[in-house]
Symmetry: none
Subunit: 179 residues, 4 copies
C-alpha cells in the first residue's frame, strides 16, 4: 500500500481547547457535564468535531487523565520520612480538587480506567514500602488502612481529607512493624 495523502495528524489546537474546558467542567459540575453538547457550548468547538475525536464522554475523561501529570518524588531512603512525605503529597492532590473530581467521575465510568487510576494513586506509597523490604501482604494491608480513609473522605463524605489521621495511621503502622 502506497500510503499517500495527508497523514492522520491529530487535531490542531482543538485538543488543547477542549481538554482544558473539560477539566473546568469536571471540577465545576461533575462528570455528568462531560457531554459533547456541553463541551461545544463552552468551547465553541463544533459538536461534530468533538464527536469525531472523543466519541463518548469516557474518551474525554481518559484523555484528561492521560494528560494529568503524575508527579514523581525521589525517596530519601528513610522509611518513616518517605511515608509521611508521600501521604502529604497525596493529601495535597486530593485537596487540590482534580484528583478527587476524577475519582467521583470514575465511579460511574469504565472499570478499566477506574482501576488503572486508583492503582496509580496507590502506587507511590506501595513503592516506598516495598523499597523498604516490607512483605507484599503486609504492605497491601498498610496501604489500605492508611490511604482508603482518605479516598472515602473525598468520595463519600465531602470533607477535607483527614491529614492528621492519616499520619497517625502511618505511625501506628511503623511502631507495629518495628515490633
Amino acid at each position: 500500500m502506497t500510503r499517500t495523502g495527508r497523514p492522520a495528524g491529530p487535531a490542531s489546537d482543538t485538543t488543547a481547547t477542549v481538554l482544558t474546558a473539560a477539566l473546568d467542567l469536571l471540577l465545576a459540575e461533575g462528570a455528568g457535564a462531560l457531554t459533547a453538547q456541553r463541551l461545544h457550548q463552552v468551547t465553541g468547538v463544533s459538536r461534530s468535531t468533538i464527536y469525531r475525536h472523543w466519541p463518548t464522554p469516557n474518551d474525554v475523561l481518559a484523555a484528561l487523565i492521560d494528560v494529568a501529570p503524575s508527579p514523581r518524588r525521589q525517596p530519601s531512603g528513610d522509611l518513616a520520612q518517605d511515608l509521611h512525605a508521600e501521604i502529604d503529597a497525596l493529601c495535597d492532590r486530593l485537596r487540590d480538587k482534580p484528583v478527587a473530581a476524577f475519582l467521583r467521575a470514575l465511579v460511574a465510568a469504565d472499570a478499566g480506567l477506574r482501576h488503572r487510576y486508583v492503582e496509580d494513586l496507590l502506587a507511590p506509597v506501595q513503592a516506598v514500602l516495598r523499597d523498604a523490604g516490607t512483605p507484599r501482604a503486609a504492605a497491601e494491608d498498610a496501604v489500605a488502612a492508611i490511604v482508603s480513609p482518605l479516598l472515602v473522605d473525598a468520595l463519600l463524605l465531602d470533607r477535607p481529607t483527614a491529614r492528621a489521621r492519616a499520619h497517625r495511621a502511618v505511625d501506628l503502622y511503623l511502631t507495629e512493624a518495628a515490633r
Copy 2:
C-alpha cells in the same frame, strides 16, 4: 368544613410494585436507570403516576433507602467478638449487592442522602467501640482504618470485599488498644 370524599390516601400497592422494580433496575443498570420512563416500561405503571409520587429520580432512591432494612444486632458485651461480628455483617451486606449499588448511586446523587447513608453504614461499628468506652477520636480512627478499605474495594476496585484483611485490621486495633 364538611371534609367529604376519599381521603388523601397514599397509593394502593403501586408503591410496592414500583419500588421493587426500582431496586431491580438499580442493581441491574445503575442509578441512571431510575427514570420515570424506565420505571413505567418495566412496571406498566403509568408515567403520570410515577411523576405524581416521585417527582425526581432522587426521590425514588430516597424511598428505596428508607424501605431498606438496616439490621440490628444486639451486642454480646465482648468487644473483640462484637467487632468481628459487626465487620462480618458489613461484608455480607456489601457482598450481597444492594448496599454496594446504593453507594455507587449515591456518589452521583444528593450529598445529604449520601452522608446519611454512609454514616448509617459506619454507625454500628462505631457504636460497638463507644459502648466499650473507646475515646471518640480513637474510635473514629479505628473505624476509618477498618471499614474504609472495604468501601474502596466495592466502589473503586470492583473486587469482593477483603474480609480477611478487615479482620486483621480489627486484631491490630485490639492489640494496640490493649497496650
Copy 3:
C-alpha cells in the same frame, strides 16, 4: 380490557395548522420541503409533535391527499358533452396547482400512494366512457391517449396543460368510435 384513561384522540387543532402549512410548502418549494424540521420552522409546532403524528414526510403527503377534496360531477348522459366537461375539469385541477404539485411529489414517494392518486385522477374519465358502454380495453386506450399528454405537460415539461390538444384528442376518439 378495561380501556381506561383518556381516549386516543388525534391532535387538537395541530393537525389543521400543520397540514395547511404543509400544502403551502408543497406548492412553494416542492415535495422536498415536507420535512419535520421545515414544518416546525414554518408552523411553530414542535418537531416532536410532528414526528409523533407524521413519522415520515410521506405520511404528511398522504394526509394532505386524504384531505384534498376530489370533486364529483354528475353526468348529463351525453357522451361527447360529458367527456369534454371532464377533461376541462381535469385541466382546471392541473392548472390550479395542488394536483400538479402532488404528482411531482409522488414521483419520489411511496408507490402505493402514487398509484392510488393517479388512478383517482383517471377514474372520472374512465367512468364516463364505461357508462356509455365502451369496452374496457378501448376505454383504457382512449384515456391513455387523452389524459397522459396532460400529465406529461405538468410533470416533465412545465408548461400549461394543452387543453385544446386534449379536446382534439377527445374528438378524434369520438369520430373513431362512431365509425
Copy 4:
C-alpha cells in the same frame, strides 16, 4: 517558460470509474444517492476529487446523460414501418431501465436538464413524422398521444410500458391521417 509539472489534463480513468458507479447508484437507489459522500464510499475515489469535478449532484447527473448514447436509426422511408420501429426502440429503452431512472431523477432536478432530455426522447418520433411531411401541429398531437402514455406508465404507474397499446395508437394515427 519551462512548463513543468503534470499537464492540466482531466482525470485519468477517474471519470469512468465514478460515472459508471453513479449510474449503478442511480438505478439502484434513485437520484438521492448521487452524493459526493456516497460516490466516494462506492468507488474509493476521494471526496475531494469528486467535489472538484462535479461540484453538485446535478453535475453528476448531467455528465451521466451526456455520456449515455442516444441511438440513431436510419429511416427506411416508409412512414408506418419507421414509426413502429421508432416506438419499439423507445419501449426498449424504457424497459431497460436507465432511461426510466433518468426520468424519475429529472422530475426532482433542474428544469433545463429535464426539458432537454424529454425533447431528446421525443425527437426521433417527431423527426419521422416531419420527414413524411406531416404538418407541425398534427405531428405534435400524434407524438403526445402515442408517447405520453408510455412515459406515464414508467413514471407514475410502475408498469411495463404498454407496447401493444402504443402500436395501436400508431395505427389509429395512420388511418386517421390517410383519410
